[in-house]
Amino acid sequence: MKLYNGGKIITGLVIFLGIFLTPLAYNAGKAAYTQPKLKMPENEKQCVESKEFMRTQHMQLLNEWRDFALRDGKRVYVNSKGKEFEMSLQKTCMKCHTNKAEFCDKCHNDAAVTPYCWDCHIQPEGLKK
């Protein structure tokens, strides 16, 4: 078998693989990604729903809360265990999670998402000029 233009092809492949694998080489030997340590509320052990549910679906939950509270006037959320909460980001969520920087931002930064909640809602640590 003869490889036409073999030299060029193999050089090209080596260069391509080299560039393609740089991220791996760059990160070799570094610690694996770990989930950020969040500052959990001190007085409360259980969130509105389970930890797994909140971790994956809090955004959908907040969207539903917004529509129920604003449009239907239903402002009380009864969770799957029958406990009642007021549907409010500032009055319910942030009363326990009293620090946006130590809670929300940590995962959002790692996941490179920038939700616009705080363009209007006031974070519990207050606003600075």
Binding site: T56, V78, C120
Partner: protein
């Protein structure tokens, strides 16, 4: 079993359907059992309305007290110039009622009127909003969902009462950030805002902020209930509404 194409397709179809049901089921199960309801404390009505006794609050100073209470409760900025944001403000008879009169009695000529969103039954702002950011609640309140507002300002053009303000700039630049009401959000640049009849206070069983601050000059209640306080006041006094000829049916009444 015969390995026919027909059997293969049946099996593939059933597998696909099974996978769909299983994944949908797991998603549904995650939030299962949660419900939502109206708070027991909440004040309820078929149609909220307000009556303003302009004999009692008829000066700029008196109305400023109401406006201050409202604007503090809702984090409304005070921006100097034409780009100010206002939920409640004062203006004269001619501006308020569109009925100029050359020979008006002196007290009425000088009187100021507290103006706010009228929460019209046929609200023109609700009709024109392309995103349904402004909507009519079943209790008659014309409310806004600022998440949805795209800042097109159709509602401002449609409102005959000038009750809406646009955030031409970041409102937080003009708010005292140390004195914010942390129970209520601010707005952001590029959305329209207006009075919400204190829907968040009604849900807690409280009266609107301006009514609380008015020492009885403002009455708030259910227009559809003949025994309510507003209906009693309306029976006993001569009242007018702003621009009734437009047919929007305002819910704010003025005792003259």
């Amino acid at each position: 079993m015969n390995h026919t194409r027909r059997n293969f397709l049946k099996f593939a179809g059933l597998t696909a359907a099974g996978l769909c049901v299983a994944s949908a089921g797991s998603i549904m199960a995650a939030g299962a059992g949660a419900t939502e309801k109206v708070s027991e404390k909440a004040l309820k009505a078929k149609r909220w309305a307000m009556v303003i006794d302009t004999k009692k609050v008829g000066t700029k100073e008196a109305i400023d007290v109401l406006a201050k209470a409202c604007h503090a409760a809702h984090n409304v900025p005070d921006i100097p110039g034409k780009q100010n944001v206002k939920w409640l403000w004062a203006d004269g008879f001619e501006q308020a009622f569109d009925q100029p009169n050359n020979f008006m009695d002196e007290s009425l000529e000088k009187r100021q009127f507290a103006l706010l969103c009228n929460h019209c039954t046929n609200a023109s702002c609700v009709r024109v909003c392309p995103t349904q950011a402004t909507y009519k609640r079943p209790d008659g309140i014309v409310a806004m969902d600022y998440h949805r507002c795209i800042g097109c300002r159709y509602c401002m053009a449609a409102c005959p009462f000038g009750a809406r303000s646009f955030n031409f700039m970041e409102p937080r630049l003009h708010l005292d950030l140390t004195k914010l009401n942390k129970e209520f959000p601010t707005r952001m640049r590029g959305v329209v805002e207006k009075c919400n009849f204190c829907v968040e206070l009604l849900a807690q069983g409280k009266q609107p902020a301006c009514v609380e601050a008015s020492a009885g000059a403002l009455v708030f209640g259910d227009l559809s209930d003949p025994a309510s306080e507003v209906r009693k006041v309306l029976r006993e006094h001569y009242t007018i509404r702003r621009k009734p000829a437009l047919g929007t049916e305002p819910s704010v009444y003025y005792i003259i």
